[in-house]
């Protein structure tokens, strides 16, 4: 067996946390983790948020974010222990021997400088190669990564290229100084599925062609299955399972890994068509002061107790449709009918019952709740506002709602900051339910959550729908979620509805080009999926 390039042994990482209003607390972020990567191999680190995957990733360059200490164990890079190495030595190795690709390329690039300058910066700073050679290498990397006009690409500024291209430019930046190891920290998480597949393919190709070793950090097992040779599954800073990708995906041993692999196991029978509760007819809308329609002639409807899923990538007009329905963005033309009556275009023209029966749940539960209000106030306010409940009656109803969202007692007096991400989203659901709505608009409600937590939220939503016959307008870019919960689907692209119908109809071929692209870009939890899709696309484009 060849000598591993990176060999982490019994690593322990600690930090001090400062919870507001409490004495500082000592926390162990990573406990007794051992892992190794050989030259030219890719190790996937996977786990939910807080699992310690980024912390371990950064430890490969012996770096801890603010206040994080690598307290025990060994980090052997090319045979020497870098955990205790002096800063001067670390400075030499970071950015040349080990490089890093961050999640948000848009935030990582300096907007005031051209891409080329930034891509070759570390190579020059470390004196790895002269400027001309670095530029030539950058251009060849641009070509390898499939960037358009590789010879002049570097002359552009970060804002002149797309998000997916920027992410590939950052990959070029990391590969430019010929490192031994690259750390990819959720490089495709912020991208649309249709862009993700290109970036993923580019990264995979670049890794193989340059023969570099890589740590690939992500929360999406289906993604990591496409690029990694080995996978380490983490939870709460501890190792859950460690093995080859084939082993983890096809024969997981631990219950947690099995749950991750089988996530989205929800089965949902499509309900028959019925008289709609909400009808959106030929709605066109634009933002004030612009001359561009963000919604073009959109017509969809939702039946009581059913779910209409609106899918599309960012910028397709999904959230704008929600704003038009709620009255926040009055449409320029078209009609919105709700429960048999015409809805005023403008929020101000709607009755209290219109408002009550149409509730909304947001993507970021963090900012959807006032941080200075208790859970009791947040859930209690709609009860007070719509039904005039006070005192004991209100308190009882709040507890009822908390029971419905499976949160139990003791939450009434807590503040949002004291809850976990999943709990926050549940409280937002309770706030919407408190109004006894006929329709709830769910705007990407699970996309900020970890897979297993998101699964719990979806199950809860489906249960509540069965109990209370509430309809959902479910906005999402995640097709797996759509398959799990939708009765009807509308595929949106550039403000138009491209495909619309019952779930079975929409997901059964023949597809239009865009729906095909969208559906085939969703990573599947099996090995070799990426190659299959790419080969298939190549064949199709050759056939045309």
């Amino acid at each position: 067996m060849p000598e591993p390039l990176l060999d982490i042994r019994n690593l322990r990482i600690e930090a001090t946390s400062y919870p507001p209003g409490e004495p500082p607390r000592h926390v162990v972020l990573v406990d007794d983790v051992s892992v190794s990567v050989e030259k030219g191999k890719v190790l996937g680190l996977i786990g939910e948020s807080g699992a310690g995957k980024s912390t371990i990733g950064l430890s490969a360059m012996s770096f801890g974010r603010g206040g994080v200490r690598l307290t025990a164990g060994q980090i052997l890079l090319n045979g020497r222990d870098i955990r205790t190495a002096p800063v001067s030595e670390l400075r030499k190795l970071r950015g040349s021997e080990v490089t890093y690709v961050a999640q948000s390329a848009a935030a990582a690039f300096n907007p005031a400088r051209k891409l080329m300058e930034q891509v070759i910066e570390t190579s020059l700073a470390h004196g790895v190669m002269p400027k001309a050679e670095a530029e030539a290498r950058a251009r060849s990397l641009f070509r390898q990564l499939g960037l358009p006009n590789p010879d002049t690409f570097g002359d552009r500024y970060p804002h002149q290229v797309s998000g997916g291209q920027l992410q590939r430019a950052m990959t070029a930046m990391a590969l430019c100084p010929k490192p031994d190891l690259v750390i990819f920290d959720e490089p495709t998480t912020a991208l649309d599925v249709t862009t993700q597949i290109d970036v993923l393919a580019a990264i995979k190709r670049a890794i193989h062609e340059t023969g570099v070793a890589a740590l690939y950090i992500t929360h999406d097992l289906a993604v990591v299955a496409q690029v990694a040779d080995d996978i380490l599954v983490l939870r709460h800073g501890k190792k859950v399972e460690y093995g080859t990708t084939d082993h983890i995906i096809n024969r997981p041993e631990q219950a947690y890994t099995q749950a991750l692999v089988s996530v989205r196991s929800i089965e949902h029978e499509e309900k028959p068509a019925a008289k709609p509760v909400l009808t959106v007819a030929n709605v066109t809308a634009r933002y004030r002061g612009t001359h561009f329609d963000v919604l073009k002639n959109v017509s969809v409807d939702v039946a009581p107790g059913q779910t209409l899923a609106i899918v599309g990538e960012s910028g397709s007009g999904k959230s704008t449709l929600a704003r038009a329905i709620t009255g926040l963005l009055p449409p320029t033309s078209g009609r919105i009918t709700f429960d048999g009556r015409d809805l005023s275009r403008d929020l101000a023209g709607r009755t209290k019952d219109d408002l009550r029966e149409l509730q909304m749940i947001y993507q970021m539960a963090d900012v959807a709740m006032n941080p200075r209000q208790t859970i009791g106030t947040i859930i209690g306010r709609p009860l007070e506002f719509y039904f005039g409940l006070r005192g004991e009656a209100k308190r009882k109803r709040i507890q009822e709602l908390l029971d419905q969202i499976e949160m139990g007692k003791g939450f009434e007096s807590r503040y949002p900051a004291e809850l976990s991400g999943g709990q926050k989203q549940r409280v937002c659901i309770a706030r919407a339910l408190a109004a006894k709505p006929k329709l709830i608009i769910c705007d990407e409600v699970t996309s900020a959550l970890d897979p297993l937590v998101a699964d719990g939220i979806l199950k809860l939503l489906l249960e509540l729908q069965a109990q209370q016959q509430v309809a959902y307008l479910f906005i999402t870019h995640d097709l797996a979620t759509v398959k799990a919960i939708a009765d009807k689907i509308a595929v949106m692209f550039k403000g138009e509805v491209r495909r619309y119908g019952s779930k079975t109809d929409v997901l059964t071929p023949p597809f239009d080009d865009y729906t095909d692209l969208l559906l085939s870009s969703v990573p599947e939890m099996r090995l070799g999926w990426l190659e299959e899709v790419l080969a298939h696309r190549k064949m199709e484009s050759a056939g045309n």
Binding site: L355, A368, P371, R381
Partner: protein, 271 residues
Amino acid sequence: MKMPLSALIGLILTGLFLFVAIFAQWLAPYPIDAAVGGVWESPSATYWLGTDTIGRDILSRLIYGAQVTIFVAAASSVLAFSLGSILGFVAATQGGWVDQALSRLVDLVMAIPSLIIALVVLSVLPLNLTVLILVMGVLDATRVFRLSRAVAVDITVMDYVEAARLRGEGGGWIIFREILPNALSPLVAEFGLRFIFAVLFISTLSFLGLGIQPPLTDWGGMVKENKDALVYGKSAALMPALAIAALAISVNLVADWILSRTTSLKGGRGA
């Protein structure tokens, strides 16, 4: 969290000034307007800080002056904050022409130096405490308007404000229950700074003769009365000037501490 030494000093001094202002009647060794000694006597055991231009005890007048100075500054700051922050929140939540009208009006007032406006207005209106407080409060409200509008604009775009709007809540709930609690920290810190400016402003006005009128006195007026003493090398004018500086610095130390706490809170939020 441990309190820094500077903040502690600031708190103690500010507390001391407040205590003196509130209990002036009992603390002052001599009446406010009694000529008890010679002109510009140096500090001594009888007159701790000396006497002024017509032989009144400076310490006593400083103590009474603290009462007037702090009361006028505090009252005008409270007025400025009530007026400025409510208008700022209204502008931020309403947007459109309401925001435009209010913001341009404020721009107009701010384009002219406050001192000049104050001098013009005060030379026309009758000189009494109410008018003084009103004029200072309204002028200062423009600064508070700017800050509170900026803070509220950030908060208005939060989903929880949108959620309240979609629920059908009125302006009152949105301003006082959704926005105000989240805007409070920066506003409280700003209150300390605006209070200092009010102290300096009232002192300036009194020094120019358009502020507090006799028989009442304040520190700015005392500097004016005794400024000629400087020519003769007497300390009489320095005492009220030092008092102004000491109050300004001590309140500033407290405000800085509050400000640093709220900024660190922002950085550490979301935990």
